[in-house]
Amino acid sequence: MSPTLPDANITKVIGLLQILHQRGGEHETVNLANDLQMHAENLLPVTEAAEVLGFLTISGGKMKLTAEGKKAISGSIQERRQAVKERLLTLPIFKKAIELLSKRNRKMHKRSFQKALLSDLPKLHSDSTLKSVIGWGRHASLLGYNADTDELFLMS
């Protein structure tokens, strides 16, 4: 089955890394939602996304910022975007997405892209993963999406 992506946006992931960094780079997972006045079910996809991207590790009830995570919150805005882009390029789902788009003149209709990339997922997971692929790809200036034409395209 295709891998799924958590339904969370990168801005929140970066915010989580910053808060973690401010607290010395590690924190008890349990208390953080309370501290941030967030529901645990809203924080969970954000921590999952951060973990998938290799920005933090979770073990023994503690989350810990990684070197990649530190990179994503250092330097200029462009350098931070670049650090996210580098991580995206290591994820199989983005490798597959780029391969698909490269073969089709760098752009595809959203529906055929979803079919090719995520056909073996149930609709609910397929929709939310597509949302994350577009959102994360846009954040890192890796993918673009035109809502007028419903087309996804590869950025330079």
Partner: protein, 249 residues
């Protein structure tokens, strides 16, 4: 010469024959390259004060001077960022950012390239042709910031810019805004930010002005000289936050 000077500004609204004085007698100045935060209890007229500074609203008495000149209705040196982003839903990100540039009567190509420059700087490449409905709150506010910066203002006025965002998104955007402000090759020189969030004021600003209940007067001004990035867990930071709290209550 002051960069910005607010001199004896007061504001009284009249409603059904009754008068409400929101701002008493407010005087302060803002230096070039300064980040000033204004805090105060709700209803203390923070937003009205900011609107008077940016020329959106007229003071009942007193003046606001920008480099010794009274500000008028149109102030190309001053741009605004709003709590609710104030984007036009039927326009793309690119068009929303260009919006602020129409007043400058630039040729269309220049308008386009200037907008693109600030879209890149704020990190919005990839969403240029998105509509606001496709964007998260954080990205909407980035568009609001790009639109304000595109007019290359000397002063940026921000009214509760992060208070409609969740805590994680707000943390992310505060950092980005500080990066933009600290980059001396970019506008703006100075920022005036209104907020009800004391930690946010102490985390970001060089100086915090505390307003009283209406009719608002300045209770105190506190200089925050902690080095950036500020350590919110440090005793010095906590002390400054406590100081502002005690001044407000």
């Amino acid at each position: 010469m002051s960069f910005l000077e607010v001199r004896n500004v007061s504001k009284t609204f009249e409603e059904e024959g009754k008068k409400f004085t929101v701002l008493g007698d407010i005087s302060f100045s803002v230096e070039r390259d300064e980040f000033l935060a204004i805090v105060g209890p709700s209803g203390s007229g923070k937003t009205v004060l900011l609107r008077i500074i940016s020329g959106i609203e007229k003071a009942t008495s007193g003046t606001v001077l920008f480099e010794d000149q009274p500000i008028g209705i149109s102030n190309p040196q001053i741009a605004n960022v709003f709590q609710n982003f104030a984007l036009l839903p039927w326009l793309t990100v690119q068009d929303n950012v260009e919006l602020g540039l129409y007043a400058q009567k630039l040729p269309p190509e220049k308008r386009k390239s200037t907008a693109q420059k600030y879209i890149r700087i704020v990190g919005l490449e990839g969403v240029e042709n998105a509509y606001p409905r496709e964007l998260s709150g954080g990205t909407k506010q980035r568009v609001g910031i790009a639109r304000a910066l595109a007019v290359e203002p000397a002063l940026l006025c921000m009214d509760e810019p992060f208070s409609s965002l969740d805590n994680l998104t707000a943390a992310s955007l505060r950092e980005e805004l500080l990066l933009l402000w600290q980059d001396k090759s970019l506008p703006p020189d100075s920022i005036v930010m209104v907020t009800h969030n004391i930690e946010e004021a102490v985390y970001m600003a060089d100086r915090v002005i505390v307003l009283s209940h209406p009719p608002a007067r300045i209770v105190a001004q506190l200089k925050i000289s902690l080095p950036r990035p500020r350590d919110t867990k440090s005793q010095e930071f906590i002390n400054d936050v406590d100081k502002v709290y005690s001044l407000m209550t």
